[in-house]
């Protein structure tokens, strides 16, 4: 079983505000991810699966 303080910590931890670097990480990841997805969809369109 987990130490009691860990359980309490999960349920009653003080909120840490998002830092600018975290916002950048989230934004950059999503932007890059969606961009790459569009590129891959284009590749998928022009280079279809060969049977």
């Amino acid at each position: 079983m987990a130490p009691p303080d860990l359980k309490q910590e999960i349920n009653a931890a003080a909120v840490e505000p998002l830092l600018p670097i975290e916002k950048k990480l989230i934004g950059f990841s999503l932007g890059l991810g969606l961009g790459l997805l569009v590129v891959l969809i284009a590749i998928n369109h022009f280079v279809p699966i060969k049977l």
């Binding site: 860990l6 309490q8 931890a13 670097i21 990480l25």
Partner: protein
């Protein structure tokens, strides 16, 4: 217990995890090498036990090769057990395990897990087509195929974990799902190569599409789940990183690797790993059947979706196996007979692609955390990329490359004999899948996890999985794999 642990007081032993990876490579390569001997006419593994669908239990078990028929079903089962006991006992010595305890626990585990597999092959559970039902003289069947035995093994483990805690404790030393699935994945390299050799164009097309899985898991899933954990549920950074990694990338390995990279306390990724395993159990019990119902006409979409939706390698790849069996059974009932191997190969490709980048992603997070968030003397180092790289993938790639070369670049005689050799190795892949499913079940003590304060962590998982991961995974699988089907069996 492997790196999937419920005891949060245990430290995260990165070294032990890496040793487990290498051990999986060694055992997987050994099985592959012994199986390959049959290509030259020396059958070293033909004694391995196989289970057929049955109504008469006496006819259920047989040795793989006819040349070992003299062993009988019981003899081949005992031989298989003894060989695995010796091999794994020697292996876990290198992990610092208590061999005597392991041997006793493994004996009990193998007996229960393989008995579950045999139960799953009973015709009333496994027979699929009307022709099969007629052949076995059964009026009805659950139509789970004989791979329904995986589900029976999982349920057996769950029952033990939740109703027989003392037995679960006794089995503990042998409950190593990560080790078993890594060995299975190394061995699977041969089957995937033999499958791919027949259709190299299709196989290379699947590889290209594996890149979509990386983008989805690391850049889209992770960012959204991290945001949900931080903003909607108020988790700290230390909890949110392993949580987002566990839910979005590949479960246990990712939670532990990224937790270590940001210098989280060891208990945090361990607890998250437990959560991932529990949800993997739920997913394995549901998603393959949903795939059979709604995606049976798009088998490769189903395979990719399972790889993207189910976290932890074990549950995902084994879930791909169940999905393949269910979809092939349904297709066969409709008069379509696909070549086996393509659906599980798609699931495995997706998982392997995702796994490859764990080390790099952990380093990126570690670099940001140790330089920009929790600045301290312990900075992330590039060497950690290699340290956290899942080494069993090297074993899979080696087996895949050697098998592919033998299938396409060697003599016609060897190429012709290779599928049988891969099939012989595949017997052990199936057995390690069975052990994985059973082990995952034994690890899933729901009451214990609830006592550990799982409610809020589970809420993040439920919101992310059912509100986002499953649907985006389905969309991307559909975008990249729809309209393309496995080759038909000749």
């Amino acid at each position: 217990m492997s790196d999937v642990a419920l005891n949060v007081s245990e430290p995260v032993a990165l070294k032990a995890r890496l040793n487990e990876d290498w051990l999986a490579v060694v055992i997987g390569l050994l099985v592959f090498a012994l199986a390959l001997a049959s290509v030259r006419g020396t059958d070293l593994l033909g004694w391995a036990v196989t289970t057929s669908v049955y109504t008469n239990l006496a006819q259920a078990l047989n040795p793989f090769a006819k040349s070992y028929a003299w062993l009988g079903g019981g003899g081949s089962l005992l031989t298989t057990y003894a060989a695995l006991l010796v091999l794994l006992s020697a292996g876990v010595v290198t992990l610092g395990a208590d061999v005597r305890k392991f041997a006793m626990a493994f004996t009990a585990m193998f007996a229960i897990a393989y008995a579950s597999w045999i139960v799953g092959s009973y015709a009333y559970i496994a027979a699929v087509t009307p022709a099969e039902q007629q052949k076995f003289g059964v009026a009805w069947s659950l139509k789970l195929t004989n791979e329904g035995g995986f589900v029976v093994a999982l349920l057996s483990g769950l029952v033990i974990a939740n109703f027989f805690p003392r037995l679960a404790g006794f089995l503990n030393e042998a409950i190593r799902p990560e080790l078993y699935i890594k060995i299975a994945i190394v061995i699977l390299g041969a089957t995937v190569a033999v499958t791919a050799a027949g259709r190299l164009n299709l196989a290379s097309s699947l590889l290209l599409r594996g890149a979509a899985a990386i983008v989805e898991a690391y850049l889209i899933y992770w960012a959204v789940i991290y945001y949900i954990a931080r903003r909607w549920f108020g988790f700290s950074r230390e909890w949110s990183v392993p949580l987002a990694s566990g839910i979005s990338i590949c479960g246990v390995a990712a939670a532990i690797a990224t937790g270590g990279a940001i210098r989280a306390r060891p208990a945090v990724p361990i607890l998250v790993s437990s959560l991932v395993v529990v949800f993997a159990v739920v997913e394995v019990l549901i998603l393959p059947f949903l795939a059979q119902t709604f995606l049976w006409q798009e088998p490769l979409v189903a395979g990719a979706w399972i790889g993207l939706a189910i976290k932890t390698d074990g549950a995902a790849v084994a879930g791909g196996g169940i999905t393949e069996a269910l979809i092939m059974a349904k297709s066969a009932a409709e008069g379509i007979k696909y070549q086996p191997g393509w659906i599980i190969a798609t699931t495995t490709t997706v998982k392997i692609f995702i796994d490859i980048f764990i080390g790099i992603w952990a380093f990126i997070l570690g670099y940001i955390w140790t330089n920009r968030i929790d600045k301290g003397p312990d900075k992330a180092r590039p060497a950690e990329i290699w340290q956290r790289f899942p080494k069993f993938i090297l074993g899979f790639l080696l087996v895949f490359a050697v098998s592919l070369w033998l299938a396409t670049g060697s003599t016609p005689e060897i190429a012709k004999a290779l599928p049988a050799a891969a099939g012989e190795a595949n017997i052990f892949r199936v057995i390690f899948f069975i052990l994985t499913f059973f082990s995952i079940g034994v690890l899933s003590d729901f009451r214990k996890l609830w006592q550990q304060g799982f409610g809020k962590l589970a809420a993040v998982y439920v919101v992310s999985l059912f509100g986002f991961v499953i649907w985006v995974g389905l969309l991307i699988s559909w975008l990249f794999f729809s309209g393309f089907k496995p080759p038909l069996a000749s």
